[in-house]
Amino acid sequence: MYTRPGPSRNLGHAAVAAAGAARRFDWVLVGSVLTLCAIGSLLVWSATLPGDGGDPRESIDALVRHLAHVGVALVAGLALATVDHRTVRAYVPLAYATSVLALVLVLTPLGAVINGSRGWIVVAGLQFQPSELAKVGLILVLAALLGEPRDQEARPMTRDVLFCLLVVAIPLGLVATQPDLGTALVLAAVFLGMLTLSGAPLLWVAGMLLTGALGALAVWWFDLLEPYQMDRIATLMDPAADPQGSGYNSAQALIAVGSGGFDGTGLFQGEQTHGRFVPEQHTDFIFTVAGEELGFVGSSLIIVLMGVVIWRILRIAQGCDQPYPRLVCVGVATWFGFQSLTNIGMCLGVLPVTGLPLPFLSYGGTAIMANMLALGLVLSIDSRDRGFK
């Protein structure tokens, strides 16, 4: 008897494939991310608790929305993880084009200004932040360009690097005009990280790293000259970072973190948090809530978990035979690493204030979606690429 494969059988195949992929997931990575999401949800809840006489539903609303963001993003990320990354590879140009288009749309009447930065698109009452998704798009396109050089070269040549520069410049320029200095820095850092590990000519790598270092040094130098000038420049380029004026955020963040002490005030007990002294404490400054309420114990756990996430992603990169998937992992690790470092460094008063969310913890739908999609890509690479070894 000849039996035609029915739709149910196909579904069965897909389910088996997904289950097989899930068995091969890096559960240390997934577990760390889920723990960070859980901690983040509690912190968002605490950060949005209203003061005396306020409406408690406010914070429940925020918590429910945050959990919905995390849930939807988690499903999307895991779905992406079950897709073969080579299938995704076919859609890379489309993903890049879409993210650039979305960044352009921000400049049209569809765009909205929030906290002084024109970085949002509002459609049917839903807000999107295209710059977050652009990070994923850029990682994919750079991985494709640097990992699969033209003319069958084994590694990217000058021509590839120059083309990459152009590919980076478009979203970076669009993001900088919003203005959103933080995201622009993330895009630049991702490019530098991927270029360094791509096998591109050393001269290019050295030149780019030097440019980056000089840029950072210039910032450092300005900082040494006139701290308030530095703050003003930062505020000018990124008004969302410091809405109440130079230095206030930074000082309040330090007070919140420092006053937490070794074991913290306990969840929902922080007086700094409760009195809303740190602006944007449920988004960019979520780490200060952890610092005050969870103390050294809880906040160092967050740092360590974040370190574990990046370490696991780099380990997956090490396991890749092919440059494209490896560079995708490197890009994602650089992104998470750079963004966590600048965010926590800002909350600890060692880095200037830039308006960047803390991956997996901060409130913000688009950001969490982007984080989870990136995680999905990495998990997909982990389950397939290693399988072909």
């Binding site: 096998g199 007070i255 006053s259 070794f262 009195g275 002294f277 740092i303 370490w311 780099l314």
Partner: protein
């Protein structure tokens, strides 16, 4: 050129591997660095940031304590508090409104009838660039917008609370002076604190709300710390907008203590009435511009009454004095009513001073039992000195010299003792016996009464003269050169006289001359005393020689009566006179009202019931009319009260001051027209009024 695929594969894998290993190491380092930084902030620096956090979200609100009352010895209120309705606003709540509270203030302006502009000014916080009116207190303190509003208006605000968010109408305690002008200067007044006072009084700094006041004069100033109590403190939790979220801790205020004084309100009123009546009687022959009457308890220095005229009602200071009233109370036309003549006024004591001069003579070799010549005039050091009426008494006892107030006897004492010291050019250290004795009676230095700004008067001697000369020499010598051209135009002879005088002062102004020593002996010349000093000296004679520091305050009682702290009498010094001399003086002074200069004033007074010992004084000063004194005590056989009366430019002592003193005694003992005695058995109260636990005061008044 193409490389071998194997080689490039190896190199690619090698670079990727080592690069990724390095990146993992980098991640480890960065994680370690962040954790180290976190440790630094949260472990060694935690305390520092906790303090900053507390400063961030804790606000101190000072809750003023109720100020204690000032009571007379029977518990009658001299100063207390009344409640007044005030409208105040929550600064942060109004400022937090979209229009900054504009609508609320404008609605409020209409019903309390205060211009909107003024309300807006009062809502501003005071600062270096902000002119008054503005809010001097903390923005966490309710900002006072209007005081003394009608209950009807207050009710309207309270009833329509929704229309006036952040605005409240409530009762607030303000100082009240139920006795009006009586004892005005002695009670004192309150004024907003100045920066200097705040700097000087450390204990106020932690207590000061910016709106409360400090005692600026009288008892309010001296006993400010006790009357003030201790302000409470409420610690509020606030958020980043300054909105109050909860009360973190609360320390209740401790109400100020009630001050129970030796003052008897009825005697005080009687003294003021007698003084005013006596001054009126002296006019228009005499100016009688001001006067003082002091009643002391001779057994402990307690101030039973202290009158000073003209007086004023301290209530004028309430709620900020206006410039016009302020200028008036400081003006000479109004008689400078702020000045307490009893404590701050100095006058030559005239013959009342003879008790000191007699003591000096007796303690320096003149016998109490000898007779001394009392001619109508004496010629000493080339100058003639007259008795008051120019009449001689022949050879008399010292007793008689006091009773009849014979000047010439004392002139001789003064001159002879001056000569004994070496006259113009003393060798070695002169004894200055007259000045020494005056100081022994407490003259020349403050009595130590518990009232502010007390004068010490002046007891001149050789040393004083030299100091004075050194201070004025330059000006005198200049005048000796240039003369007085402006006066010479109108009166050449007077100008010439002044020029000669200036020359004299310039060249030999340091010399203590015979005429100065002679005038000193009868309390004239440069001798100056205050009525309180004189009362206190006579109280010492009455009690056998103990000079007390006068005390207005008798006890301090807590607001709930749980604790009463007695203010013990304080002895300033013993008068350096033998008991025999004191007794001799007592006998002489008792005779004055019977057969001496006080006889007329005390005619008809029941001296057999209450004998009054005293001494009249009529003091001359340049370009002023004679000032009238009477210093006394009673009963002469068992002294209880010392009464000193002064009427500036009021005539002779027997004519003006002695009748005033008589009226005061009549009031105390209930003689004559005065009806009932003001003090039971004619004695000051020994028991204290009771402060009940509920804060009410049990008066001893019958």
């Amino acid at each position: 050129m193409r490389r071998s695929s194997r080689g490039s594969s190896v190199s690619r894998r090698g670079r990727g591997w080592s690069g990724l290993l390095f990146v993992q190491f980098l991640v480890l380092v960065l994680v370690a660095a962040l954790v180290a930084r976190l440790w630094y902030l949260q472990v060694p620096m935690a305390e520092h940031y906790r303090e900053l956090a507390v400063a961030n979200h804790h606000q101190q609100l000072i809750v003023p304590a109720t100020r204690g009352h000032i009571l007379d010895s029977a518990g009658r209120p001299l100063v207390n508090n009344r409640t007044e309705l005030v409208v105040s606003a929550d600064y942060h709540e109004l400022r937090g409104m979209e229009d900054g509270g504009e609508r609320v203030l404008s609605d409020l302006s209409a019903i309390i009838d205060v211009p909107l502009a003024e309300l807006q000014q009062r809502m501003r916080l005071c600062g270096p660039q902000v002119e008054r009116p503005c809010w001097p207190g903390s923005p966490y303190q309710p900002v006072t917008l209007a005081e003394g509003i009608e209950p009807r208006v207050a009710l309207r605000i309270m009833e329509s609370a929704d229309d006036f968010p952040g605005v409240t109408a409530q009762a607030q305690a303000v100082r009240a002076y139920p006795q009006g002008e009586h004892a005005g200067q002695m009670l004192g007044y309150l004024q907003p604190i100045t920066q200097e006072e705040l700097d000087a009084r450390e204990e106020l700094r932690t207590q000061f709300t910016g709106i409360d006041q400090v005692g600026r004069d009288g008892l309010e100033a001296v006993y400010d710390a006790q009357l003030r109590g201790k302000a409470g403190q409420r610690t509020l939790g606030v958020n980043n907008h300054g909105e109050v979220m909860d009360v973190i801790s609360e320390e209740m205020p401790v109400a100020g203590r009630h001050l129970i004084t030796h003052i008897d309100l009825k005697v005080q009123k009687a003294a003021e009435k007698a003084l005013a009546k006596g001054m009126e009687a002296a006019r228009p022959r005499y100016r009688a511009d001001s006067g003082a009457a002091v009643v002391l308890d001779v057994t402990n220095g307690g101030v039973v009454a202290m009158a000073s005229l003209p007086t004023y009602d301290p209530a004028i200071w309430q709620g900020g004095i206006d410039q016009e009233t302020f200028d008036t109370i400081l003006s000479e036309e109004a008689g400078e009513p702020l000045l307490s003549r009893a404590v701050q006024g100095t006058y030559p004591p005239g013959s009342t001073f003879k008790v000191s001069s007699l003591s000096a003579a007796v303690e320096n070799g003149y016998s109490l039992h000898d007779s001394y010549a009392c001619p109508g005039s004496v010629s000493l050091a080339g100058q003639s000195y007259q008795n008051y009426a120019g009449a001689g008494q022949g050879s008399i006892s010292l007793k008689k010299a006091i009773i009849a107030s014979c000047n010439t006897v004392f002139y001789n004492f003064g001159y002879q003792m001056w000569q004994k010291d070496g006259g113009l050019h003393p060798e070695g250290e002169p004894e200055e016996a007259m000045a020494e004795m005056a100081r022994g009676y407490g003259f020349g230095s403050p009595t130590g009464v518990d009232l502010p700004y007390e004068t010490g008067g002046r007891i001149p001697d050789r040393e004083w003269k030299r100091t004075f000369w050194e201070e004025t020499r330059e000006a005198n010598c200049a005048r000796a050169e240039e003369g007085y051209p402006d006066i010479a135009e109108r009166n050449p002879s007077h100008a010439a006289y002044l020029k000669r005088l200036a020359h004299e002062h310039c060249v030999e102004g340091f010399e203590w001359r015979a005429n100065e020593a002679i005038n000193f002996s009868i309390g004239q010349g440069d001798v100056l005393v205050s009525p309180l000093q004189l009362a206190s000296a006579y109280a010492a004679i009455a009690n056998g020689g103990t000079l007390y520091e006068p005390r207005v305050a008798k006890a301090l009682a807590t607001a709930d009566g749980s604790d009463v702290e007695l203010i013990e009498p304080s002895v300033k010094q013993e008068v350096p006179v033998s008991d025999e001399t004191i007794r001799y003086l007592q006998e002489a002074l008792a005779e004055v009202t019977v057969s001496g200069t006080g006889r007329g004033a005390f005619a008809g007074f029941p001296l057999d019931e209450v004998a009054v010992a005293g001494k009249t004084g009529s003091a001359d000063a340049e370009q002023r009319q004679v000032s009238s004194w009477f210093a006394s005590y009673a009963p002469a056989d068992d002294p209880r009260y010392a009464v000193a009366v002064l009427v500036s430019q009021g005539g002779t002592g027997g004519m003006t001051a002695a009748p005033i003193a008589r009226e005061i005694y009549e009031a105390i003992y209930g003689f004559g027209e005065q009806g009932e005695e003001l003090l039971p058995d004619g004695k000051p109260r020994t028991d204290l009024p009771t402060v009940r636990t509920d804060g009410t005061i049990d008066s001893l008044e019958r």
